[in-house]
């Protein structure tokens, strides 16, 4: 394994599903914030929405790890 691919593995992890999941979660959260407005319900509950999105990303990543076995 080259140093560059080791570095990528250290920063992004062993799979692509998790970094993509994090990126998609943050993207969806930013989109909802734009639609809902920063001062409405998002201001108080947006954190739980992001937690939920991240939880889904982790679950999807674990499921794909299990499927590869």
């Amino acid at each position: 394994m080259t140093t560059l691919s080791q570095l990528r593995k250290l920063i992004l992890g062993e799979t692509w599903s998790l970094p993509i999941g994090v990126l998609v979660s943050l993207g969806i959260a930013a989109l909802i914030r734009e639609v809902a407005g920063p001062d409405g319900w998002w201001h108080h509950a947006g954190g739980y929405v992001l937690f939920g999105l991240v939880a889904v990303a982790l679950t999807v990543s674990l499921t794909s790890a299990l499927r590869r076995r």
Binding site: H43, H44, G47, L50, L58, A65
Partner: protein
């Protein structure tokens, strides 16, 4: 609350990463020469110090606060969720347990196949392996500490945690190898995953204009949330793990 969790996150993450670097340096030192192993490790430490000196100030001075929180949150989520994913798979017996001692033994076996240079000549193979090992493990340490230190009041606990981790790892190195094989690394790494993921959601949300009820105390219920979620995942996955013969 944030102080204690930042310190804990920095201490555990840095300690565990440096333990892996230590395993490589020791393997080089024992199999080849300690002088060359230490030269390689020192070279990597200098490169990492330069990276830390550049990365921290650039992030803090160039990136606006809201964007900075999202960037920090994204990095912490990347690291935290990866540690959590591996922790869940290990605790569900779907992946072999984490062991710096095993890595040390494997590294030692690999190094034994490399030819040694004559006495008095530098051992570039040994130096390169020690340099690369410390550099690669160190980059993650630098990114985690920079991310934890970049939020308001995060600098002191992140640096104290990292400093304490250095001292602990040196102490472990001095009394190797029994303590290395006894460490519950799988559980510690799982705990780091929970802590870093909680910080990741907390900072990224703040960057997206979220106000957390209870302010810093939100880190506690986020950690509890990640612990509950991952324990449920371990429970479900463990039932699907192959039964040992």
């Amino acid at each position: 609350m944030a102080f204690v969790l930042t310190l804990l996150g920095s201490l555990l993450a840095c300690g565990l990463e440096m333990l892996e670097a230590l395993a490589i340096v020791l393997a080089v030192g024992i199999t080849r020469r300690f002088r060359d192993a230490l030269i390689g490790a020192a070279g990597a430490a200098v490169a990492l110090a330069v990276l830390a000196l550049i990365l921290g100030p650039v992030l803090i001075s160039r990136v606006p606060l809201e964007s900075l929180r999202i960037v920090i949150g994204a990095f912490l989520l990347l690291f935290g969720l990866e540690w959590l994913r591996k922790g869940v798979l290990r605790l569900a017996h779907l992946r072999s347990p984490s062991s710096s001692f095993r890595e040390f033994v494997e590294e030692q076996e690999e190094l034994e196949s490399l030819a040694m240079p004559p006495e008095g000549r530098p051992d570039w193979a040994g130096r390169t392996i020690a340099f690369k090992g410390v550099l690669l493990e160190g980059v993650e340490v630098i990114l985690i500490v920079t991310a934890l230190a970049a939020h308001p009041e995060g600098l002191a606990p992140a640096l104290i945690g990292a400093g304490a981790a250095i001292l602990i790892v040196i102490a472990v190195g001095l009394f190797l190898h029994q303590p290395l094989s006894r460490l519950p690394e799988t559980h510690l790494k799982y705990l780091v995953g929970v802590v870093l993921s909680s910080f990741g959601v907390f900072f990224a949300s703040e960057g997206l204009s979220v106000h957390w009820p209870g302010s810093d105390a939100a880190l506690l219920y986020l950690a509890a949330g990640f612990a509950l979620l991952s324990q449920a995942q371990i429970h479900v996955l463990a039932r699907r793990a192959p039964v040992p013969a």
